[in-house]
């Protein structure tokens, strides 16, 4: 059952992404952007990382998309200026084609297209991670196009030794495991990102503060 839901979510994300750039009304664009975020969040939840999916919704949909809506509200966009027709519309297609083909090239060079000959104890390889997710129609189509596998029955679900119950010592929920590694092994990165966030909070206030007096230092400490 989760096979079909994965397909719907990925197709929905792709369709919403296309409709973000091709819709005329900017508010409708933001709504389709929200739809992209929700679809991707659902995909992440189905992959097993529920915390990341829900935090996508809280951060992206709850904060960033609202920021976009506020900006659009205050920009006073005239809808008649926005609709591009004819040569104005097609003159940016070659650039889009170049950037898109670069992206596709990057993806093809990373994703594995054949699942034969995977070792079961290669815990840190990309191919092991991808073999554990359920295959949907898009992946089936991929394997048909670029590999020698005839049907999805040939693909083996790799048994991961990390999930075996006889070697499982503790059971962390997701937030506990993220916290355990983030606050010990990744503590320096955590401190760095907190400094960047502090800069992001203080920076705009300092940049946009208006001072009326010419005596700048005196007004700061008044």
């Amino acid at each position: 059952m989760s096979n079909f839901l994965l397909d719907f979510l990925s197709l929905g994300a792709i369709l919403s992404g296309i409709l973000v750039i091709t819709s005329k009304n900017p508010v409708i664009s933001v709504l389709f952007l929200i739809s992209v975020f929700v679809n991707v969040a659902g995909y992440l939840v189905l992959l097993g990382i529920g915390f990341l999916g829900i935090s996508y919704i809280i951060v992206y949909v709850g904060a960033i998309a609202i920021l976009f809506l506020f900006v659009i509200m205050m920009l006073n966009i005239q809808l008649a200026e926005l609709s591009a027709v004819g040569s104005e519309y097609t003159q940016s297609l070659p650039l889009g084609g170049i950037v898109g083909s670069l992206f596709v090239f990057e993806l093809i060079s990373i994703l594995p297209f054949s699942f034969k000959g995977l070792s079961t104890f290669n815990l840190s390889s990309v191919s092991n991670t991808f073999s554990e997710s359920s295959l949907g129609v898009i992946n089936w189509f991929n394997t048909l196009l670029v590999s020698s596998i005839g049907s999805t029955n040939d693909v083996h679900q790799v048994f991961d030794a990390a999930h075996a119950t006889d070697s499982n010592f503790t059971n962390y929920i997701q937030i506990e495991s993220i916290g355990q590694s983030l606050y010990t092994y990744g503590s320096i990165w955590l401190l760095l990102t907190s400094i960047i966030l502090l800069l992001a909070i203080v920076g705009p206030i300092a940049l946009s503060m208006k001072t009326n007096n010419t005596d700048h230092l005196y007004t700061l400490y008044r």
Binding site: I28, I34, V38, F51, I54, V61, G62, A63, I175
Partner: protein
């Protein structure tokens, strides 16, 4: 068969919630009336209890009017989004030991995500909602530090020792005030503006769409009250508090 059971589970939560919402509106009108020294609705049923159903019937049979210059898709989508995400929050509420529609290990995060999504129904109340969400999340974080888990059933069971209302009374007061702001009730009901406009941002929606806004508002009020009870007043075990 499994889908049938899932649908029956969801319906057995949604239909009582809608009935609770209906009777909450009557209770609010009777309470406000007694504060103003008059009787509230007292004609329709015994003591006016069926007033909500009369209102719903009237609203469903009204003519559906929409402004000519409005974007019809967005006009109809707003109330629908608000109602759907208000009702989605009831999926993680424990009504008894183990009696939830979905017992998520990240239940509190799911409630925060659903409340983030439901702000798109009405942008005017959003600025208030976002500013008070920070306070609500901080208060929730304190309770999560007490229980050590984001699961709502564990949050109820952890209060067998002591109800969190007793050690965390100031946090309860802060959470309560934040909850009133989050649902646009008095004294934070500037977004609805009942004294200036007829009903704030809901004025131009009519008939069935207005019912959605109405249901969504009271459903989110009931949801926040249930959430407060689960976090601070020990949920379904609260019979021992009294």
């Amino acid at each position: 068969m499994n889908t049938l059971i899932s649908v029956a589970e969801s319906l057995s939560v949604i239909i009582p919630i809608l009935l609770v919402v209906a009777f909450t509106t009557v209770a609010e009108r009777k309470t406000m009336a007694s504060m103003q020294r008059r009787l509230g609705p007292n004609t329709v049923g015994y003591y006016g209890l069926l007033q909500a159903f009369a209102d719903a019937l009237k609203l469903l049979l009204k003519e559906c009017v929409s402004p000519t210059q409005s974007n019809l898709v967005l006009f109809f989508l707003g109330p629908i989004i608000t109602l759907v995400f208000s009702l989605l929050g009831y999926a993680v509420i424990p009504f008894g030991p183990g009696l939830t529609v979905g017992d998520l290990p990240l239940g509190i995060l799911y409630l925060l995500a659903v409340s983030s999504l439901s702000t798109y129904g009405s942008l005017r109340s959003t600025a208030q909602l976002i500013s008070y969400e920070l306070i609500l999340s901080s208060a929730i974080l304190l309770v999560v530090m007490f229980t050590g888990s984001l699961n709502l059933s564990i949050s109820v069971e952890a209060q067998r020792v002591i109800t969190f209302f007793v050690p965390l009374l100031p946090v309860f007061i802060i959470f309560f005030i934040g909850a009133i702001a989050e649902t646009n009730r008095a004294p934070f009901d500037l977004a609805e503006a009942e004294s200036e406009l007829v009903s704030g941002f809901m004025t131009e929606h009519s008939a069935a769409i207005f019912v959605f806004f109405f249901l969504a508002e009271y459903a989110s009020i009931v949801l926040i009250c249930i959430f407060t009870c689960i976090l601070f007043l020990s949920g379904y075990n609260s019979i021992f508090v009294f």
